[in-house]
Amino acid sequence: MATACAATAFLAGVSFEPSTSMQVIVASLPLMVAYAIAVVLASNRSGRLARQRRLAMEQTVALREQLAHTARVGTLDEMAAGLAHELNQPLTAIHVEASAGSELAAAGDSDGVRECLSRISGQSLRAGDIVRRMRTFARRGEFQRELLDMGQLVNDVLALLDHELRLSGINTTVSRGEYVPPVMVDRIEIQQVLVNLIRNAIEAMAKPSIALRRLTIRMEAWHGRVRVSISDTGGGIDPAILGRLFHPFQSTRPTGLGLGLSICQTLIETHGGRIGAEPQPGRGAMFFFDLPAAGGTPS
């Protein structure tokens, strides 16, 4: 006890000899208590600060995830008509094939029936794929990094946007460098960035005056990173807004909040990447982002 008191008093800046009388101990008691309270308070305070910091960080992450999810649902809402149309195609084909199959069965054409059945099987898988992609995209999940191939992410997104691209008469080219390393990313968030950038490109080429409609997606290894560029042959970027392109609430559309690119920037930066745009005067626009390359082979 004496040693503890001495140590405490020493730490509190009071010289103290264990051999001194009881009087001194009693006299220094208030000081010791004050010190103890200060120590407890200080440790409590730093604990509270750490907790508050952790809570704030968790809230920031949760808010970012929530905002990204809300934006994805908004995008899906805009895409709903197209996706419904996309889903109606295999459903129509399945129904018509089934009717054809029963006509052919009545006529005893077993080869014809088999052909119908095989078509039905293929089209139902196709419908399932569309639903799966939509559900993955709309999922509200915890941020989860996986080792992924950028080419696969691009393919998934192109399948989701196939209807919009086809209906807009857009020619799509995907090219990849000789070796594009995998990336360690959250699948949904990077898909969201790709959907956003590609849908912007589709919209940029929607004007009837634009005769050549070409979307070019290029992936390459670039200084230890994976760089993806998305170029369109639309009207390009207005130089007046180039500087604040990624600021929130910048929109050239009559509808929409103008949060798309600002969310893309947040998502890419969360992954340790960078995003940018080049106006390419007279040739449309090019958006690009890069992500740190990961070692290993994607699963």
Binding site: A81, A84, H85, N88, Q89, P90, L91, T92, A93, H95, V96, E97, S99, A100, E103, L104, A107, D109, G112, E115, C116, R119, Q123, R126, R166, L167, S168, G169
Partner: protein, 128 residues
């Protein structure tokens, strides 16, 4: 109907196009298929008794554009239109074109057959 006139299927979606052709052939209706409105216009010379089974939403020239173009050329054909969903403006344009019928995907084959039978009955009356 015995020996019904052909149905020209104009539909960009391969799965739907081939399934419709298979079904119509199975019930004895001759068909020709076209993956786009443009490819139909390239080959169609006019003056043929036939019916169009045409998708409204297609890349490039839409089904509505095609029907209006045929009207302009005075080679309009009776048409059954198919679509996924239709906006008010398209519906208005469709009304003016007086199609034989309107099928919203996914439609039932029964609806398609009913429209075809109605068309055949008008042909029978005309022949009489």
């Amino acid at each position: 109907m015995t020996n019904p006139p052909p149905v020209f299927i104009i539909e960009d979606e391969e799965a739907v196009r081939t399934s419709l052709a298979r079904l119509l052939r199975a019930i004895g209706v001759p068909t020709r298929t076209f993956p786009s409105a443009e490819s139909f216009l390239e080959t169609y010379g006019g003056n043929e008794e036939a019916c169009l089974l045409v998708d409204i939403r297609m890349p490039g020239m839409s089904g509505l554009d095609l029907m209006e173009e045929l009207h302009r050329r005075q080679t309009a054909l009776p048409a059954i239109v198919m679509t996924g969903h239709t906006d008010a403006q398209s519906l208005h344009r469709l009304d003016a074109l007086q199609p034989l019928g309107f099928l919203e995907k996914p439609f039932s084959v029964g609806e398609l057959k009913a429209i075809l039978e109605t068309w055949w009955s008008t042909l029978d009356r005309g022949n009489r």
